[in-house]
Symmetry: D2
């Protein structure tokens, strides 16, 4: 088991494939089993009241698991989210970035599953928990990943 991409490769690749949103996300740490991803919180991620929005936390969890799959399988790999579950546990703290800690629970031939805890920076109590399942297509077409 080893990594197909380094942290630097991964950041460069995310920059290419997500030109609109790449500045939102920073890979803070990466090893064979886990990744730490930062969401650089800006106004567009907020709900009224200054809380980070649900869709922003969904996006952070989704990108974290996707990046972990890329890091293991390499940049040519296609993967499509097929399932997600999220629990919102505590109100995120205003004015702080969010940090996702993701473990890859399974990386099979056709399915990958990753588990994510999301924290307001410096907090030790999670604001949210997520699990994302990705379908990994056997052949080289994105449509194939939808199973």
């Amino acid at each position: 088991m080893s990594l197909a991409m380094s942290r630097e490769d991964l950041m460069e690749y995310l920059r290419q494939i997500f030109p609109q949103v790449h500045r939102d996300f920073v890979v803070e740490a990466l090893d064979e089993e886990s990744i730490v991803m930062r969401l650089v919180v800006e106004d567009r991620h907020l709900r009224p009241g200054g809380t980070v929005s649900g869709p922003s936390m969904f996006g952070l969890a989704d990108v974290s698991v996707y990046a972990m799959i890329l890091a293991r399988k390499g940049r040519q790999s296609l993967a499509v989210t097929t399932n997600s579950s999220l629990d919102f546990l505590r109100k995120p703290e205003g004015g702080k970035d969010m940090i996702a800690k993701c473990r890859l629970l399974k990386l099979g031939r056709s399915l990958a599953v990753g588990d994510v805890l999301i924290y307001s920076e410096w907090s030790d109590k999670p604001a949210a928990r997520a699990t994302m399942t990705y379908s990994l297509p056997p052949e080289g077409s994105a449509a194939a990943a939808f199973g």
Copy 2:
């Protein structure tokens, strides 16, 4: 069982509380048990390849269930998403709005649960399915809703 807000009241209220995103959403239909909500798809909702992004579909499901709760409980009601599950079933069609059809499965004293099917406009096969749970705080503070 009756509605506390009409479709027009609801649209006006969403406009007030979600100033940044209210133009994304249109309440197409509303009755005691269900709501139909349109996501007006624009560039910022898209992933590379022209597909509507996961966070955008999450947001559509979330707003649909929230609006249904408001319609039943009235505008003073506070509600916080505590749990969501989504299944992504088919690739959304490029260049089309998305239509969410939401049923309220439960509206209890402290929890509400809604079920959502999301379609590309004019399609009869769902692109995604979602369930959202909201915590309804007994007292008048948003923080209370986090349980």
Copy 3:
């Protein structure tokens, strides 16, 4: 789109493959898109207080979606549950069978997704809601279905 198995074929086949539990389940109705399955509630399905247990409702949802896949794909088909989400909405009524109404939302090459509402018999308010995802292996080995 048509059925590979009739209601009678399906009941006979469930009898063969689930010898321990086949008497728990009765296929009440079946068409191309949906199935109605009864759980014949007995003491072993109950929790203290006379409520039908969570594992029994999980099992009912799981069998319903599995039977729907069999009915469409035929008896040789292998399928393994990969994901489930359940919401428990209301306390089941004591001394009543439970009725699951299942729709197949997707039957793809490698994944199938079904949605289930579970009622106490004669009740019109659901006791639970479930979604189950099955992996459908390309080749003839059960292990393959785990992806």
Copy 4:
């Protein structure tokens, strides 16, 4: 933060409230944040082919989180499962007990959320992952917990 019940108290209490199934479950370890629970696998937990069934793993996850809540809140506490999500990752190994490792992610006034990884004994790769949400009723009635 401290425990309201010791491991021995907890086992004795589970024996009282779950007379039918208490022998299935053994509390292997317990601290303020986590519990390890064993499912003593017998024939009735198996599917054809010798695999531990989905409902048995659901039950193990459910009991683990419930026991963790009891250990923290004490034996008078009422709690009702309102939501669960499970991912089945690998086929359980035949003839082995299953071990659930549960962390309590949140123990609020009205909701508790626990995360569970389930292993075949001695395996270091999880067979399943689960999250369970419990509603904690303010007053002393089980019905109240359904929110």
